[in-house]
Symmetry: C2
Subunit: 348 residues, 2 copies
Amino acid sequence: MTKLSPLAVVPFVSVDSMMKLVLSLGVERFLTDLALYIEEDFKRWEVFDKTPRVAAHSHEGVIELMPTSDGHLYGFKYVNGHPKNARTGRQTVTAFGVLSEVGSGYPILLSEMTILTALRTAATSAVAAKYLAPRGARTMAVIGNGAQSEFQALAFKTLLGIDRLRLFDIDPVASEKCARNLKGKGFDITICRSAEEAVDGAEIITTVTADKQNATILTDNMVGAGIHINAVGGDCPGKTELHSDILLRSEIFVEFPPQTRIEGEIQQLAPDHPVRELWKVIAGQEPGRRTAHDITLFDSVGFATEDFSALRYVHDQLRTTGLYEELDLLADPDEPRDLYGMLLRAAG
Amino acid sequence: MTKLSPLAVVPFVSVDSMMKLVLSLGVERFLTDLALYIEEDFKRWEVFDKTPRVAAHSHEGVIELMPTSDGHLYGFKYVNGHPKNARTGRQTVTAFGVLSEVGSGYPILLSEMTILTALRTAATSAVAAKYLAPRGARTMAVIGNGAQSEFQALAFKTLLGIDRLRLFDIDPVASEKCARNLKGKGFDITICRSAEEAVDGAEIITTVTADKQNATILTDNMVGAGIHINAVGGDCPGKTELHSDILLRSEIFVEFPPQTRIEGEIQQLAPDHPVRELWKVIAGQEPGRRTAHDITLFDSVGFATEDFSALRYVHDQLRTTGLYEELDLLADPDEPRDLYGMLLRAAG
């Protein structure tokens, strides 16, 4: 067959390339840069084509497509959520995504997004906390010490200066894994035997558990005045982490209300319960935390614009790093109307 | 980096592999087999999770995601439609797709679908015509002789025995290209100087033009009794090919009414104008063509189940043909909850 035309190939960032990219830049720098892209896109929130994700639910889990566009670029992510996958050695969440030019409809990037989603979720949490967490916070409880926990810890260290971690997981092995992975990163780490113990003295509480059920990771008495809650784990219908009483005492910030009302902690509340939009805070249109006594809650479910920001960031690294392959994904006949002729010539 | 784990890789059918697959099986056999898969899935229409495609429209064109699932497998296609792309040597329509296991959410196939969409569109048209075209039809007018035209001709030859073609395109070069590509395939081909000339004596009229506008490729007086119209080109809002008077005289068959009412020829009609569902005909629940004098119209826009059938067919060819690559698309940590640790170990 003939040499691939530039119009036929799409840059592909494999898992291997993504790891090399993250390692060559350094996790901390990657998170910092990515947070800038995420903030930049939140600031121009109104230009984005926004729609709740398109979800295919099954008994075992969910497969979702998350598209968005800023009018120049279009991106979507494919992501699954299957809590039982770990039993067969698979990831609960895997993902990949595509960035395209709106003008031609041609993809300009296909990227793994399992690792990238972990990074963007953590970066988004830290961006929200910059505006919502109490000033000078240094201690964070992390409840749920699975695949997302280290990324959260590093994002909060890099962007907010959090250097004391209080870890809890129903499986102590997970906490030990998290502590071990974060060794040498400048954290003072305490492994706790209960969620109650973990939140003791923490100014920020991050919940990032994985069970697909209405769990109660935090009860009302565990959350005092002035706390910022970063609720990451509850992200689909029937999957929540907080007792509803906490929600009623909190100022709640969300990404895209129509999606969060279905998928977030606030699915437990009345459909008209007041929530505030994170983008308005980031864009400077509304204040974030107002007093030292407020309980602020970032009801994170993950929105398509964050994946768009992440794809845009990775795409911008292609030229300088060269960490990608060329994928023969698009047909490129010599003459565009002659797709069949291309087949014929391939035979000849 | 370490050897790829079987859980990390996704079989990838590139454009090159797809061409080899089509050529190794032969276009005709590919179309015949694919038509069987499409019919099979139309027969079990009710098990599919159906939703209108998720479209991002822009001035230049459209980017769409078309997901569906039968409860065991999940598939989606990414497809663009940009009529001006030809000016820059690009395809008007390019596509790729993914097939996944519902149980794990893991992709089991990533495939180019520019070529595959051309084949599935043609196979679907021929399947519809099997039930709707007048018996014994041998002559088809093909109006619009671009990238889809040869595939339509070959599908109708293979599945219905059409062996006389009357070609017309506003650009005679396109008709010549189509005739040249079909040489030796057993067709008696006439290149016509107008659409009126092309439909003369044809029992089936296929319209497959590409302009994004409300065009009138066929006017009412051009369509006599007993004709089957295979209207393929009109497939998005503002893009139609037939005068509405023809629609009012026709028995109209569609894939998925909520989508076709937005995208098909019937966007010109009242939202409650009666249409019939193709799947019911294929499943034997309703008759197709009822009399020799009926005008039947397949208002084809392309539906997600057809892409699902096509992906399923290609997936079933992987093992025997070996025509795929392995793509490092999914992260596969030694321990599923240890995504960050995988990064650390990649550095070590």
